[in-house]
């Protein structure tokens, strides 16, 4: 297993050793941070340290950082906690945003997967009701970065609040909560080498936030429940390392260049616009994504056909659909995502496996496969 090339970091990234060490220490220390005695105070200190580290990753103040059980909860909390009835979201948001507000108005993206700012401006102007705008920092399937600064500028002019799902962007591109200017920012630890089960919502101190769950007054009454101390410690340690950023653009360039050379009709989605450096969404013409994923898995390369939460279901990617990618082409698209421990050998292994598969399929009947895809 360990010999496999794991290239599915956007689903989850392996835990960084520093994060594991911090977690084991916290697990051994024990204690409930709300307890007054020494054991409790030590647990509280671990949480406080991690809060500073996570806040530093995104240039926020510790007091603005609320720990949650993950990115999904952070997104849900922001969208309900902001208390705005009118919500505008981009067409490529993660399900944890889309489904949290089924009534939301959907903002289109262009062919490269970038938010249509004209459409946002028009939507904001169409009603006097103050809105909440939710746009992600980087898309989970294509890695395309969104024009958050422009979103904030337009939203501010219209009196709207802004939420940014930075789950896929944090730890990969430099982030400054204050410069970015958003009111709410969602983070997930396990997307950059922290543990699963922990995330954060960063909330500008002036922004409204009603609690989503009720109980003990943890997290300054904004998120009840005994703190996941070890998870938070791992989150902090991973953040302290991720603050150095992730630049795997050389590896990705090599990867994309090679794959397009092998299959000239292959298309890298969002290739012409700024993306986080770790993500490639690419189609292998005529070969269904599921076939690719299985063939690569047999060759010891882990990639995915889309978001992990929906990857069990056979359905069209809403992201590619929003970009206007024809269904037949979208059905052949996979996501390759690198991370903090990716090395050149992983990329070479992927290229070899990709080439083997492509050659095999080309030699059989590619047109036959294509017609099957079209029929589906």
């Amino acid at each position: 297993m360990s010999a496999a090339a794991y290239l599915d970091h956007n689903a989850t990234s392996p835990l960084r050793p520093a994060a594991l060490d911090a977690m084991v220490d916290a697990l051994q220390a024990g204690g409930n941070p709300s307890s007054v005695h020494g054991v409790g105070r030590r647990a509280r200190a671990i949480v406080d340290t991690a809060r500073r580290e996570v806040a530093a990753l995104v240039g926020a103040r510790p007091a603005e950082t609320i720990f949650t059980s993950g990115g999904t909860e952070a997104n849900n909390l922001a969208l309900s906690g902001a208390g705005r009835r009118r919500v505008l979201v981009s067409a490529i948001e993660h399900d944890s945003v889309r489904r949290a507000v089924p009534r939301a108005e959907i903002l289109p993206v262009d062919g490269d997967g970038v938010l249509d700012l004209v459409a946002l401006e028009r939507a904001l102007a169409s009603s006097a009701e103050p809105a909440l705008v939710s746009v992600m920092l980087a898309n989970n399937e294509t890695g395309v970065l969104q024009p958050i600064a422009d979103v904030v500028r337009l939203a501010r002019a219209a009196g709207a609040l802004v939420h940014c799902d930075a789950v896929q962007g944090a730890g990969k591109v430099p982030l400054d909560f204050r410069d970015l200017g958003v009111d709410y920012l969602s983070l997930s630890a396990h997307k950059f080498g922290g543990p699963t089960g922990v995330g954060a919502l960063v909330v500008r101190s002036a922004a409204p936030l009603g609690p989503d769950r009720r109980g003990g007054g943890q997290e300054s009454n904004r998120r009840a429940g005994t703190e996941n101390v070890a998870g938070i410690a791992g989150f902090g340690a991973a953040a302290a390392q991720a603050i150095r950023g992730l630049d795997v653009s050389m590896l990705r360039s090599r990867l994309e260049f090679s794959l397009v050379q092998i299959a000239p009709r292959a298309r890298v989605f969002g290739a012409g616009v700024p993306r986080i450096s770790n993500t490639t969404c690419i189609s292998m013409p005529g070969v269904p994504a599921e076939t690719q994923v299985m063939a690569l898995d047999l060759a010891g390369v882990c990639i995915s056909a889309g978001a992990a939460c929906s990857s069990g279901k056979v359905q069209r990617s809403p992201v590619l659909e929003a970009m206007g990618v024809p269904a037949a082409e979208a059905a052949c698209a996979t996501r390759i995502s690198l991370g903090w421990n990716s090395v050149a050998a992983d990329i070479e292994r992927l290229i070899t496996a990709w080439q083997d598969l492509y050659t095999r399929v080309s030699q059989s009947d590619i047109s036959h496969t294509e017609s099957r895809v079209r029929a589906a």
Partner: protein
């Protein structure tokens, strides 16, 4: 990686706060470790072996949790902890059935997250009845029966109280609920793994479980949701549709595995551990009673988990006592509210007078508590209670036979 070889170093205080949180069992950490390192996949990834391996871990854990409470594994949902489970159970049921029924029954001694959720629902237009408890902390079943109306959708009564450790008559409550076609939710954060719980025998429809109260990790819990007859919920967290749509979000595989392992260990060792703790509980109580007068155990002693004592030391201020016994990690009440100096609402609900409520300590015993620790704790408590009493004018007056309640204090 350093292995956990012992739970407590000698320079650390004796941990007697097992209702706030429990140390993690080293066996649990051991089970979790592979899922932190090489089995790190996303259990939602169906496209490669890393994902399948993670899913095997979560599903095994689900079965372990289900087995502990006599449930089917399909009926167990992972959450971020008991607070979330309680919020989801109560709010989820209330919101799903609100067009037909709008009344919820609970008790005044529930955990804060149950009470606050109920108060929030009241603001939304639901009706909530907060039942009193008897002086022993237990629910009066006739009072429950009388409170149920044809609008009642849910009865939420905790299995074991977090401050006084009393065990509610779950079987009887379950029977009453079933007879009246009302859903029965129990917050079993303090009960699961400590007393036998069988959702079938007890007619429980929803049950909240916490990882870190059963020697597992923090940040994980579970909610049991009955499938036959089916209980339906409006989810609180939506997104990727994990946990059959009841609870979205990537499953934290190592935490799920830890909860499962913790559940299995508790199940295997429950009987012998209960006996061992009962002896320790008796040893502590006998030790204190033989050397101190004017101490009162709050809550019924018989219908109580052996890992809890809640004792009022008359004429001694609980906070001062806690400051004195630096070598013991205990609390004066629930951890969530432990920073506040308000007397415990649980003790007040039992009819404990404010003065006595202020003198109480919650002492929690557990898996790693030793006889030696109990003896040391008794010595420390006796020494400090005596010292504080010597300084107390009230104690002096009481010794002289003056009835303190008869004194009319001058206004100041």
């Amino acid at each position: 990686m350093t292995a956990i070889t012992q739970i407590r170093r000698n320079d650390q205080p004796i941990y007697l706060d097992y209702q706030a949180t429990t140390p993690m069992d080293p066996r649990v950490l051991e089970a979790m470790m592979p899922y932190f390192t090489h089995k790190f996949g996303n259990s939602g990834s169906r496209s490669h072996a890393y994902g399948w391996e993670a899913e095997e871990g979560t599903e095994r854990a689900r079965a372990q949790v289900a087995k502990l409470i006599g449930a089917d594994e399909k009926e167990v949902i992972f959450t971020s902890g008991a607070t979330e489970s309680n919020n989801l159970a109560i709010r989820g049921v209330a919101e799903f059935y609100k067009d037909r029924k709008n009344h919820i029954i609970t008790t005044v001694t529930e955990h804060k997250c149950v009470l606050d959720t109920c108060r929030h629902l009241e603001q939304q237009g639901f009706e909530v009845t907060y039942l009193p408890v008897k002086q022993d902390g237990l629910l009066d079943l006739d009072v429950l029966r009388a409170a149920i109306t044809d609008k009642t959708v849910l009865v939420s009564v905790m299995a074991v109280n977090n401050e006084i450790g009393v065990i509610q008559p779950l079987a009887e409550i379950g029977r009453i609920c079933r007879e009246n076609k009302v859903f029965f939710h129990t917050d079993a954060a303090q009960a699961a793994g400590k007393i036998p719980l069988d959702v079938e025998a007890l007619n429980i429809d929803l049950m909240s479980i916490s990882g870190h109260k059963i020697y597992g990790p923090k940040g994980i819990g579970a909610l049991y949701v009955r499938r036959k007859p089916r209980v339906r919920l409006v989810p609180m967290i939506v997104g990727g549709g994990q946990e059959r749509g009841f609870r979205s979000g990537t499953l934290p595989t190592p935490l799920c595995v830890g909860l499962g392992e913790a559940a299995e260990i508790c199940m295997k060792e429950m009987e012998s551990e209960a006996k061992r703790l009962k002896k320790l509980q008796e040893r502590m109580l006998d030790g204190l009673r033989s050397r101190l007068t004017d101490i009162v155990v709050n809550g019924d002693l018989e219908h109580r988990i052996p890992g809890n004592l809640n004792i009022s030391f008359a004429y001694v201020e609980g906070e001062s006592l806690m400051m004195g016994i630096k070598n013991l990690a205990v609390s004066s009440g629930s951890a969530c509210t432990s920073a506040s100096l308000e007397p415990s609402y649980v003790l007040r609900a039992l009819g404990v007078e404010e003065e006595m409520a202020h003198t109480s300590l919650r002492i929690g015993l557990g898996r790693f508590t030793t006889e030696h620790e109990i003896d040391t704790a008794v010595d420390e408590l006796v020494r400090h209670v005596n010292k504080l009493r010597e300084m107390s004018p009230l104690w002096e007056m009481a010794q002289e036979g003056i009835d303190i309640k008869s004194i009319e204090w001058a206004a100041h």
